[in-house]
């Protein structure tokens, strides 16, 4: 039987992981991911999760241990945040290049310096070129649902790329809300045991993660590009299979009142909840505003985004990240991939509060762009005294 529990996104991720039954869980605690590592340690200690829980000495080690375990042919899970993800950087490429279908939870947090434990999305966005898929959750329910789906997507033999399930630090990781926790029977029905296509076995020796000369490297990288592009169809299929078992419907993007919208906001993660509330208020006043929530940041669903926003007069792209000298990354990728009239907004860096009034201001700036506001706008920046 499924049951409703009032829990945080970190707890939701841990509950999902428990039901997906990874056999090796190497985790290093870091704020605001820490409670994921604690819940999983408790599950293992209580015998609720039959896994090897490895207490590693750093995030470089936790992801390395996950690569090793996945190379040995078992399902594995790890989780991190911010500086920890940055420390994993080198091995993130290895995990993707070796095609190990690891699933990782990432509590989105700002990067130092200045040191901050609060939320933005710079950490995972900065790992966009590693070959990992990235799914951004709006709430704890999505965090749970995305972990379960991430295993099925990553482990598909047409994909075999690792997945990152991203949850906004503190906003999701440390607030509680009702979450529908599925039954183990339903998860087992949806997610079959992991079947590796190649793994380390003394009876059938092979080498993984080998040295390649210039005769082979480019093909291996091209394979990854094909897998990442192809992952979009696999995600659509897995979303459908998930809906059949659990009744909750997902896609690469979520369209919220976009059909007739003149202004469409494009955003990722928990901020989408605030935006929906503002849109409902503006709609009551007759303003045609909509939201396009990007769930799958990698693979990048440019077709789905364009399909949803092409009818709008103007769009606003909200980024909780900054690539210095060029602006928000999602804004720039959308501008690069499609011909749309868009304004970019940098907001919420290092935990800076984003209020409904800020969102209303963004709608206004997008509707009436000036030469200054039609490119990159910083929202909530304090003015110099």
């Amino acid at each position: 039987m499924n049951m409703i529990k009032v829990i945080s996104a970190n707890r939701a991720i841990a509950e999902a992981v428990k039901m997906c039954k990874p056999e090796v869980v190497p985790v290093f605690p870091i704020t605001p991911q820490t409670t994921i590592s604690e819940y999983l340690a408790q599950f293992v200690a209580d015998g609720d999760l039959r896994a090897e829980y490895i207490m590693v000495e750093s995030e470089h080690s936790s992801i390395s241990a996950a690569v090793g375990a996945s190379g040995a042919g078992v399902r594995t899970f790890t989780a991190t945040s911010s500086q920890g993800l940055a420390l994993m950087h080198e091995i993130l490429f290895v995990a993707a290049g070796m095609r190990t279908p690891i699933v990782m939870g990432n509590a989105n947090r700002a990067l130092s310096a200045p040191l901050s434990i609060w939320n933005d999305q710079q950490d995972s966005i900065s790992e966009r070129d590693t070959g990992w898929m990235q799914f951004f959750a709006e709430n704890a329910q999505e965090a749970l649902d995305f972990v379960i789906q991430a295993y099925k997507i990553s482990e598909d033999h047409e994909v075999l790329l690792p997945s990152m399930v991203c949850v906004d630090g503190f906003i999701l990781t440390h607030t509680v809300e009702p979450v529908d926790i599925p039954s183990q029977e339903d998860v087992d029905k949806f997610l079959p045991p992991y079947e590796p296509i190649s793994y380390l076995d003394p009876k059938d020796p092979m080498s993984l993660g080998t040295f390649t000369d210039p005769d082979y490297y480019m093909e291996a990288r091209h394979d990854m590009e094909v897998a990442m592009e192809g992952a979009k169809d696999i995600i659509r299929r897995v979303n459908k299979e998930f809906e059949e078992v659990f009744g909750r419907k997902y896609n690469l993007v979520e369209k919220y009142k976009t059909e007739d919208a003149e202004i469409i906001l494009v955003a990722m993660g928990s901020i989408c909840g605030t935006i929906k509330t503002v849109i409902d208020r503006l709609r009551e006043k007759g303003e045609k505003v909509g939201l396009l929530k990007v769930i799958s940041y990698r693979p990048f669903p440019q077709e789905d985004i364009y399909e949803a926003v092409k009818g709008a007069r103007r769009i606003a792209v909200l980024d909780k990240n900054i690539s210095f000298g060029i602006g928000g990354v999602l804004f720039n990728e959308i501008k690069a991939k499609m011909d749309v009239d868009a304004s970019g907004f940098i907001l919420g860096l290092g935990g800076r509060e984003v209020s409904p009034d800020d969102i209303i201001g963004i709608v206004e700036k997008t509707r009436n762009p000036t030469t200054e506001t039609n490119q990159i706008n910083w929202i909530g920046l304090k003015e110099e005294e």
Binding site: G97, T100, L160, P205, M206, G209, T210, A220
Partner: protein, 80 residues
Amino acid sequence: MTSVGATVKEPGNSVKNKTGSWRTFKPILDKEKCIDCGNCILFCPEGCINKDYDIDYDYCKGCGICAEECPVEAIKMERE
């Protein structure tokens, strides 16, 4: 690509990687000068010289140790 993740599925296939392509200088043995001491055979780190003093250029990387160790300078390193 036939192997996902550049996995090498059969053991013992490093012979397919002809490391001789890395060579810049090629050892040329003058068998007239050779005194059959065996030094080059013993010192070659790649095992590329057989008992008849034939050099396997498929795998010789051109390190030049054989030429260095030859007591009668029977081996010359020539640019490829």
